[in-house]
């Protein structure tokens, strides 16, 4: 999808199908396709519980978290790359949709294949050199091997927990998630930022105390 006409006034270079698109037209086409991320809904609600959060505004929230919580990234972390990763990380959901973090493993594997196919299609809308570099950032986020990717992934895990804390348990309560399930996710936060990992652990304990998160293990309540 491109806004027809930006090429207006240019000298025609042969039949339409033979004319390679200008790089800027391709970039605009990609940016307008990206608009669809605003329609992909997540399980998490807004803090006012008025509706579900979408993946575009979620990505913005992570970018803001990266700026504000930069001091919790390991020394030497390239913050600009972290921000770029969180801005891009969910684009593949335009085709693949969002999968709840506590979904079954078979579903997770299906999702991974769908996201890879989506990355093939979406990044190819861009001029080739740029497609390569932005896709590499997305792959880096997925692989979680660098300090930047680990910190970005930590933020992606922490954000819905923060929202659950101010929405009476939010998705934990809605889906009967227990503290031990949440705790398995904290390792990933600790891996990206020890201090944010400790904070998350404190939050989970507090959530159990307040009765908005079921305590670890079945039958251990009360």
């Amino acid at each position: 999808m491109t806004p027809a006409g930006p090429g207006r006034g240019r000298v025609p270079r042969g039949p339409d199908r033979m004319v390679p698109m200008e790089p800027l037209d391709r970039q605009v086409g990609f940016l307008l396709e990206a608009d669809r991320l605003k329609t992909v809904l997540r399980q998490t609600t807004l803090t006012d519980r008025s509706r579900q959060e979408n993946s575009a505004e979620h990505s913005w929230h992570l970018a803001l978290m990266a700026l504000v919580l930069a001091g919790h990234a390991p020394p030497g972390t390239d913050l600009a790359r972290v921000v770029a990763m969180v801005v891009l990380h969910d684009l593949v959901e335009i085709d693949a949709g969002d999968l709840f973090v506590y979904a079954a493993q078979a579903e997770q594997a299906r999702q991974e294949r769908a996201e890879r196919a989506a990355a093939d299609r979406l990044f190819a809308l861009l001029p080739p050199a740029q497609a390569g570099s932005l896709r590499a950032l997305w792959e880096e986020f997925e692989e979680r091997a660098t300090a930047e990717a680990k910190f970005a992934r930590a933020l992606d895990r922490l954000q819905p927990m923060l929202i659950n804390m101010v929405t009476e348990g939010g998705t934990w309560a809605a889906h009967g998630v227990t503290a031990d399930q949440v705790l398995t996710r904290v390792a990933l936060i600790e891996d990206g930022s020890p201090s944010l990992g400790a904070y998350a652990r404190d939050m989970i304990a507090s959530a159990v105390d307040r009765g908005i998160l079921a305590p670890p293990g079945p039958g251990k309540r009360g």
Copy 2:
């Protein structure tokens, strides 16, 4: 608003009102307050016209534009600062709301005062040193004196135009905006990026040709 309890287990340091909040608690409080930007609606719709866009997802779209259109920024532009600015730029709308770009001048002045008061309140939620540096970025965006601010502002102007092009004139058609009104806004895009300014000018001409934007001046049509 902070998720009660992250300080759990810490040694109490006196009566509650005497205990200064931990920096991380303040940062989380700011981030949860920022969530409200997802409920601030703009005039622009999504490209699928299903609903109005909100200011949080709009800010994400600008961050993505900054990454993709970086090559159209003047040489030497610090892209990380551009991205940080667009992520922060609309936070003040949490208190002040969004004002349509073609609103009357008296309304614009009222809006400016409201946004300044909002900045006073919102940034003060953060630890003081960070409040200062993030507010400085917001002021820089508003003042539009640096290359980074000019480029960020150019993106902020270009984004709704791109959406209007694929939504049959969008806010132009809905509010009876004419091409000469839109052209006065193009100077700001050109100031941030000559090539994006030229692109915008082409788009406007194309929009008039296609009949989705009223031609310049009254009575000049046909």
